[in-house]
C-alpha cells in the first residue's frame, strides 16, 4: 500500500531462545512513515520482533536491514529507534522534565536548550508546563503514558516502537490515547511500529496490520483487507464476535454445513472446497421470507444484548448460535424464544481455510 521507500527490512529473521523458536523465518518490509501494527496472542513472538528491531535482542539468523544496511549487531543506543515500553520504564528517581530530557542529556545538549525542548514536548502532549518539576511517580496513568512518549520523541528517532503501552489503561482513556497517538503520528511523520494483542486497537490506528501466530505472519495487510478478507479461521476468530461455520462443497456448486439442513450459496470466486464460512454479525439480517437474501435459515431468538448504539442478538439454529448485530433503530419486534429467519448475501461471506 505504501508508496514510500522501505526503512526497515526483515529478511528470513529467526530468533531462538534455547529450544524455543520465538520468531520463525519472518520477512517484512516496513515503509518509511507508516503506522504498522503487529497483532498476536501472547507468546506469538511480537515483542521479540520489536526487541530485535530496537537492538535489545540479536536475531539468531537472517538479516535486519535499516535503509539497506545490515544492522544485526548494532547496539540499541546506536540505532535511530526508540521504544515505549509496556511498563513505560520511566526513571522513578527523575522528575517529569528530567525524564523527557534524558536522551538530550545523553547526547550532550546544553541545559537551557534541553529545558526548552522538554517544555515544547509537554505542550505538544497536552501536559501542563508546571509538570516539568513534578515527581514522575506522582503522575496518573495517562500522564505517565504521555511522559514516556515525550521522552521517546525527545530522542528524535526515525522509528518509534510501542510495546503494548496502553494495555494497562482503562477503556475510555485508552480510546483517547489511541487517537492522540495517531495524531502524533501524523504530526511527526515518523515511522510507528506498534504491538498489541487487540486487533480492535490495531484497526483504529494502523496503516497496515501484521497478524502473528506462533512466530510467523499469518496475514499482513491494511485494516480493511484484514477485516473483510481474513486469511484464515485464526484471524477471523481473533477479530472478536464473528460467525464461523464449518462447511464443505456439496458437489453441486453449493456448500453444506453440519449445523443446518439448508445448502449455502458460496461467496463468488472462492476455490476452497472445505473450510469455514465467515459472516460478520452486521452482515446477518432478519428477513421475512426465503427470497429476501441469498441464504436464509430459520432459527429461534435466544437472547439479546445492548451494545450502546447497536444490539447483539443470539439466534439458535439447532445447537449452533449465530450472532447478529443491528443498529438499535433496526431492531426487530420479535421477543426472545420466538421463531425468526436470518439471512445473508453470498457476497458478504468469506471462505477461509484453517
Amino acid at each position: 500500500m505504501s508508496s514510500n521507500s522501505p526503512i526497515f527490512e526483515l529478511r528470513q529473521i529467526t530468533k531462538n531462545f534455547g529450544k524455543l523458536t520465538a520468531v520463525d523465518h519472518i520477512d517484512l518490509v516496513i515503509a518509511e512513515g507508516e503506522f504498522l501494527t503487529i497483532v498476536g496472542p501472547s507468546g506469538s513472538g511480537k515483542t521479540t520482533i520489536v526487541r530485535m528491531l530496537a537492538g535489545m535482542e540479536t536475531p539468531t539468523s537472517g538479516d535486519l536491514m535499516l535503509r539497506g544496511k545490515r544492522i544485526n549487531d548494532l547496539p540499541a543506543n546506536k540505532r535511530p529507534t526508540c521504544m515505549v515500553f509496556q511498563s513505560l520504564a520511566l526513571f522513578p528517581h527523575r522528575s517529569v522534565g528530567e525524564n523527557i530530557e534524558f536522551p538530550l542529556k545523553m547526547s550532550g545538549v546544553d541545559k537551557r536548550e534541553r529545558r526548552e525542548r522538554a517544555l515544547e514536548l509537554l505542550r505538544q502532549l497536552q501536559l501542563p508546563e508546571d509538570y516539568y518539576g513534578k515527581n514522575v511517580t506522582k503522575c496518573s496513568g495517562g500522564e505517565r503514558q504521555r511522559v514516556a512518549l515525550a521522552r521517546a520523541l525527545a530522542f528524535d528517532p526515525e522509528i518509534l516502537f510501542f510495546d503494548e503501552p496502553l494495555s494497562a489503561i482503562d477503556y475510555k482513556l485508552r480510546k483517547t490515547l489511541e487517537k492522540e497517538l495517531k495524531d502524533i503520528h501524523r504530526e511527526t511523520g515518523k515511522t510507528f511500529i506498534y504491538i498489541t494483542h487487540s486487533l480492535e486497537e490495531a484497526m483504529v490506528m494502523s496503516d497496515r496490520i501484521g497478524v502473528l501466530k506462533a512466530g510467523r505472519f499469518v496475514q499482513v495487510g491494511t485494516p480493511d483487507e484484514i477485516y473483510s478478507k481474513p486469511a484464515n479461521k485464526f484471524i477471523a476468530e481473533f477479530m472478536g464476535d464473528v460467525n464461523i461455520i464449518p462447511v464443505k462443497s456439496s458437489g453441486t456448486g453449493k456448500l453444506i454445513s453440519p449445523y443446518f439442513e439448508e445448502s449455502i450459496v458460496p461467496p463468488i470466486g472462492s476455490d476452497i472446497t472445505a473450510g469455514y464460512l465467515v459472516i460478520r454479525p452486521e452482515f446477518l439480517r432478519f428477513v421475512s421470507g426465503k427470497s429476501d437474501a441469498d441464504n436464509v435459515i430459520a432459527g429461534k431468538l435466544y437472547n439479546e444484548y445492548a451494545l450502546g448504539s447497536r444490539v447483539q442478538y443470539q439466534v439458535r439454529v439447532g445447537e449452533h448460535v449465530f450472532i447478529v448485530e443491528k443498529l438499535r433503530q433496526q431492531a426487530p419486534a420479535a421477543g426472545t424464544d420466538s421463531g425468526v429467519m436470518i439471512g445473508w448475501d453470498a457476497k458478504d461471506s468469506v471462505m477461509v481455510g484453517n
Binding site: 543506543n77 515500553f85 511498563s87 520511566l90 530522542f155
Partner: protein
C-alpha cells in the same frame, strides 16, 4: 469492658510490643537514668547530676570516640568500594554462580566472630600459617603482622562485609531491567546507564548497607582487642572498662549514651538526604 477492647492489629503486635518494652526500652531507660547518677554509685534513686558528662568532656575519652568513628568510617568506605562490584556481579553477571558466592559469604557467619578472628591470628602470627610457610618455603623471616592498625581494619572489613554486601545486592536487584534497557535505547552508553540509572536506583540498598555496617563497626571491640592487641582503644573498650574494672556504672552509661547520640545523629543526617519511603520500598 468494651472500652478496653484491643484492635486486631494491636493484639497481634502485643507479644512484640511487650518483648521490646522489657528487652529494649527498659534497659535503655536504665542506661539513660544511670548516666545521670553520681559517679561510682549503684542505685538509680540518687539525685540526678551531670557529673559523668562533665567528666567525659574534661577527660581524654574523645580519643576513643575518634578512633571508633574513624575506623568505622574507613571500614565502611573500604566496604563500599569492595562490595558494590560484588553486589553488581551477583545480580547481573555471575548468573547461577551467584548462589554459590552468596553461600560462601554466608557460611562464615555461622562461626562465632571471635573464633574467626582467632583464625586470623593463627594465620598472621609469627611462625603462623602465612609467615611460617614463607619462612620454610623461601627462608625469609618477617616480624609478626599482628597488632597493627591495618590488621584491625582488615578484621573489621572482614567481619562486617556481609552486612554491606547483602543489602547492597538487594539494592542492585531492585533496579528494573526495563529502565536499564530504556536508557540504552535513548542513547546512553554503558557508563551513562550505570551513572544515571543503575547507581542512583540501587542507592536505597546501598544506604541501608552503609548504615548497618557503620553502626556495627562503631560498636566493634573484638577486632582491636584480638587482632590489634589494643593498638587503638575504641570507645566500646572504655565503656566496658567503666562497667567492669572501674566499677563506675554511671560513667559507662554516660559514655554509652554519648555514643548513641553521636551515631544516631550521623544516621539521621544520612537518612534526611535519602527518602525513607524509597529506602523501605514504598514508592
Amino acid at each position: 469492658m468494651g472500652r478496653f477492647r484491643l484492635s486486631q492489629g494491636l493484639k497481634c503486635g502485643l507479644p512484640v510490643i511487650l518483648f521490646l518494652l522489657a528487652g529494649f526500652v527498659a534497659p535503655l531507660l536504665a542506661v539513660v537514668t544511670y548516666s545521670f547518677m553520681p559517679p561510682r554509685s549503684f542505685g538509680i534513686t540518687n539525685n540526678p547530676t551531670l557529673a559523668n558528662y562533665a567528666e567525659i568532656f574534661i577527660s581524654n575519652t574523645y580519643i576513643a570516640f575518634y578512633w571508633s568513628l574513624l575506623f568505622a568510617f574507613i571500614t565502611v568506605s573500604i566496604l563500599t568500594v569492595i562490595c558494590y562490584p560484588i553486589a553488581y556481579g551477583m545480580v547481573r553477571v555471575f548468573g547461577r554462580w551467584a548462589a554459590v558466592i552468596t553461600l560462601l559469604f554466608t557460611i562464615p557467619l555461622f562461626v562465632s566472630e571471635n573464633v574467626r578472628l582467632y583464625g586470623w591470628v593463627l594465620f598472621f602470627i609469627k611462625n603462623g600459617v602465612l609467615l611460617g610457610s614463607i619462612r620454610s618455603l623461601f627462608g625469609y623471616n618477617f616480624d609478626s603482622l599482628l597488632f597493627t592498625k591495618g590488621m584491625v581494619l582488615l578484621g573489621m572489613v572482614y567481619v562486617y562485609l556481609p552486612f554491606m554486601l547483602f543489602p547492597m545486592s538487594l539494592g542492585v536487584a531492585m533496579v528494573p531491567n526495563d529502565t536499564r534497557e530504556a536508557a540504552a535505547d535513548l542513547g546512553a552508553t554503558r557508563w551513562q546507564v550505570f551513572r544515571e540509572i543503575e547507581l542512583p536506583l540501587s542507592m536505597p540498598g546501598a544506604v541501608i548497607g552503609l548504615l548497618l555496617s557503620f553502626v556495627l563497626a562503631v560498636g566493634s571491640i573484638s577486632e582491636s582487642k584480638i587482632l590489634g592487641g589494643q593498638v587503638i582503644i575504641p570507645i566500646t573498650h572504655d565503656i566496658e572498662i567503666a562497667f567492669t574494672y572501674a566499677q563506675n556504672w554511671p560513667l559507662g552509661a554516660a559514655l554509652a549514651v554519648m555514643l548513641m547520640v553521636v551515631v544516631g545523629s550521623l544516621v539521621l543526617i544520612v537518612l534526611r538526604r535519602f527518602d525513607l519511603d524509597v529506602i523501605l520500598g514504598k514508592r
